[in-house]
Symmetry: D2
Subunit: 368 residues, 4 copies
């Protein structure tokens, strides 16, 4: 891409003109007006210039801090959740992982309960480790276990309870920044106690919807969000293993050599699980790398197991179990596996696809 | 609905006029013209008046005849398949179960091979009993086992082989009549020998696509037909059992009380498995009945297990294992289970939905 | 495409075997069964082998016959319409232009009224000449004038009246054969007298919907059929003239050099005007030809003005004002203009597109 | 709606605990973490609490300031456009009418040229008065005249020229804030001189696409943005007049009594003209009012002619020719006409509809 060379919008002028211009600009300000020509470089750059920065949060730091919060801060009505948000260092102290995405570690101590509420923000949970918490979604208790990916789509009632003696922590992802920025938040409090405290192995939503290609006739019809409440690790793991095995047998299956990838999908549409959030799971064999990429929109990755490195915007970071990193819009990135590396990923791609603003670029841009 | 009272289109006229009219009608015929007013009652009835009739074919008769054909008629290039079509007695000796649907029993003897071909007609197989045949779809061998529902969508290469000492028979369903009637058949011969004679437990298509809600990133995108080559009985059975269990727990899940039903779906769209064919599986608890229904379009049912009766167009028929019956368009029907009754069903509903011609009516129409 | 060489399905066999086979075939017949292997060549040809034939009906013959019917046959309840269908000579005396399409000349004498009714069949009218008839669609009177294309989508009430001293005749197009073949006809009689006998220049539907790109906020939403009741000749003519002018200015606009073409569309979806019928208007400059084509599905063309020839399936026919010809599925055709040639066209392409059975081939297939 | 009563998230605690909590919060900050429980009231309000404020900009002030800018600031490469943005007083000095929408007055003096460029931001122009400027969109010159609504969808090349001795000013609308906030801006400079300086009455895009319901066969297919470059005032005006006339005749047509409204639409989809922006025109008869409404998302209105008042968020403002006002998300508003009142409106509704975040409420909410 040719380098942008924006010339001076306002030519050199004599002193009288300068005074008049100053006066005009003052009047603009008083009249709540701002000229484009002083703003265009910032407002309409030649390619995205995100304020959000690539950043890695270490699980080895996050978990002890969540634990400490567990000791000091009760969970309950008002605060609603003991969730600690990853605040992108480029976003001025806002609790945003990126301009659109919220990522937080949520911590629930032994026998604690997070009360029921609902909101227009779409939410999911990804379980990096542990078990023993049930989330109750519209009255349907859903077990949370290591490797599972769980949904609470917008305006669904939900609360959580830990039924064990052991605390549990997991990753929460939401579209809070997008909803906040666009003034589309509605929120409603539910009962303080959970509507159903039973602890079934499988939720009703799974028993109705989580069969491959098989749908309940009584509940058919397109829905904006997936009705599958929990995508279980056993299925994700098997799908990834199958892809690598098929690749080894000589057939197309993987995203790139040694790089298996699945997308969690809404069975009623075949599209993304939530209208604003895409979720995927990636598996890289040892010594393999992803293709170098840039994408419009941001994504957040969490290491599920294994180790490797991520090069985001030219800066390399080591990746260990539980580490979370963010890739801002149009920042080049690639991931290398040292040992077999499993990563969960979520992004805001459905937003850009829906608005026809999505682009991606694979391979390294030439820089001559 | 008010009874139609069509008056005489042509009033009584004098003899001279009659002669002139006869002459006109003769000229019409010579000029390849036909007046609407003599045809409208047949052409545009007040509600569908199908020539196809409700009919039951007995598995106890079908299977021995297929076996006999196995003894006498080789399978191979030219005839292509040892398939014996159910010919609706109302359709004038055409091999059509209904005006749109083909249903046949296909029989493959020990170590026989049905050669590869492809055609625009969409096809599926439902396996009422047995195992030991693999169908090779686009080079991917797919095991066929009791209770499975398998797809060969239009223009996919496919052939079959029986690798055992035991013959196997199953139900084939296609849209042959529709495609024939609309002159949209394309057909191409493939190799006489199968492209892959291996006999894996799971096909590659299943390993890529048959995970609940999980899709391969490398192969994403909407497809007109489902990429799942085989919907396995274990998943269908479990989904039906889950529905009945959830109903027993007091939550909505079933199509009607004691009547579980699943639809096989295309995971890339959430819609029907084939553009022209809908496929479902129904389970009725003993002593339960379906709701009385009429539907535009026709359907074919096969009893998988159990026994009961079907009342179609006012005529009751006993249902035993393997029996196949057809319900023509807008004919009232209901099904009763004596013992727990499992039924496979396919229909042409997607055609009518796509063309905005679909209607259905549940409950008995009042006849006063 | 490789020529199909289907071998004998049944090998030569000894006499005993022949007897056994005869017995088996008799049993098949008694049991309402038909083997595929004796039918496959007819049922599943390598490419469409339509029974419908290319044929031309001459306006110079049609109009006098319609006039004669006007003298002898009253129009009214029961016969409903004085419509005379074009019966394809290949379709065994059925009133079908093709297996899916009905085309008829309808004739309404001075001050005659065709009573109101509605049906699931989708209908349109194309006005080759004349004026003075209003069709009342759901209570909204729509003027019919030379060059106009008018819609009565399925299940819309409609009747006609001629308010002049002059008879009027026009082309009716419907999906009667498709609806009949698939047993999806519903029909209901309305009042014998028209619900509104006023004769406005523009219908309410046009005043609401026939503004370029502008939709009424009160009536927004996707509809299966176009809400525009009449596509007026002045707009069609201008769009065609504009295309040829833009082509002459050196910009892309036409379907082929000297060949302008517009499609009538549903403004609420951008797609076809009716779920089962596509309608277009084509203009060929003198001495220009269409590209040679084959298409799955059938189409019917009517010459609006000018003269030329149509080569359909290798047979050339002269085209004069009002002549109507049919192109069966997959039959090669091209049209040549001697003088500037305007043609109206309708087809069943939306059916095949919806069912993913559509194909087309442009240019002449090599035959070596 | 029940008033939200969020209780204290953190209960009163002893001093030691306070110190520990302070330490924890400090560590959070150092680790780029922010707890939800201190932020939730701001982040996830019970209903939208926009920072953007209702505001009116007076045309009587805007136009002279634009003229003054015309005297002092040249237009050309770098600044690109002499556009002055309406800066919502609640949005901290950013040039945003709302969190998603940009609205500006653009001014082009006699014989001035604004150079060609393209960007991913979607843009339109609404012409409140004047004529004599042509905008060249992808090489196609489009006349700009009073009452017209013109599109330059994302990534379309465009530049402007004034070919007269008279300056011209108009309203520009874009999705700049949304694109900026989500880091999805791409921008490319084109030639400094316009690619086509001709001044045709109608653009090629109009000649191809702006015929009611008629589409060019050569260019068919769904597009994310409308291919109609200009929606002309004569069509808009006629559609509005038609609605009011049909209402007077006793048939449904208007948005509310005495309130006609049209939406500009994409003829290839029937949906909004741009993926991110909805545009409508409203006409209120004298002494009529709109229904009281709240909508998720923001809108900007400009008075085209007539006078009246707008009550937005409980504050009444007089409306005169050219006045522009913004309605932030979920703020109650209604408009009253004193004299017949014509208003142009644009909003970000397609964004919220695509993301399933849209809601609206008509009528006054009870406040007991």
């Amino acid at each position: 891409m040719r380098k942008k060379e924006r010339k001076e919008p306002v030519p050199a002028a004599d002193a009288e003109r300068d005074d008049e211009l100053d006066a005009l600009y003052r009047t603009f300000t008083e009249t709540n007006l701002i000229p484009l020509w002083t703003q265009i470089d910032d407002l309409m750059p030649e390619q995205p210039t995100p304020r959000a920065r690539p950043h890695v949060w270490r699980w080895s730091e996050l978990y002890p801090l969540a634990q400490r919060a567990g000791d000091l801060v009760p969970v309950g009505r008002g605060g609603e959740r003991r969730a600690i948000a990853l605040a992108n260092p480029g976003l001025g102290g806002r609790p945003y992982a990126s301009p659109t995405l919220w990522a937080a570690i949520q911590y629930l101590g032994p026998h604690e309960v997070a009360p029921e509420h609902r909101h227009t923000q779409n939410a999911f949970r990804f379980i990096i480790e542990g078990e023993g918490v049930w989330t109750v979604v519209n009255g349907d208790p859903v077990a949370m276990r290591r490797g599972d990916f769980l949904l609470t789509p917008g305006w669904n009632w939900h609360g959580h309870q830990n039924v064990t003696e052991t605390p549990m922590a997991w990753l929460d992802g939401l579209d809070i920044p997008l909803v906040h920025q666009t003034d589309s938040s509605f929120f409603e409090f539910g009962p303080a106690a959970l509507t159903d405290t039973s602890t079934p192995e499988r939720s009703r939503a799974e028993r109705l919807w989580a069969h491959p290609g098989v749908q309940p006739v009584a509940l058919l019809g397109e829905r904006p969000s997936s009705p599958i409440s929990a995508y279980r690790w056993e299925h994700t793991d098997r799908a990834l293993a199958d892809q690598l095995a098929i690749e080894a047998e000589g057939h197309p299956a993987t995203a790139a050599p040694g790089h298996a990838a699945v997308r969690f999908s809404n069975p009623t549409t075949g599209r993304d699980v939530l209208p604003t959030i895409r979720a995927e799971f990636h598996r890289l064999r040892a010594r393999k790398s992803t293709v170098v990429r840039r994408e419009v929109g941001s994504s957040v990755w969490q290491v599920f197991s294994g180790r490797g490195t991520a090069v985001v915007g030219g800066i390399e970071n080591r990746l260990e179990h539980g580490d979370i990193f963010v890739v801002p819009s149009w920042v080049e990135y690639e991931i290398h596996a040292e040992a077999d590396l499993d990563l969960f990923r979520f992004s805001d791609a459905p937003v850009f696809e829906a608005l026809h603003l999505y682009r991606e670029l694979t391979g390294r841009e030439s820089t001559e």
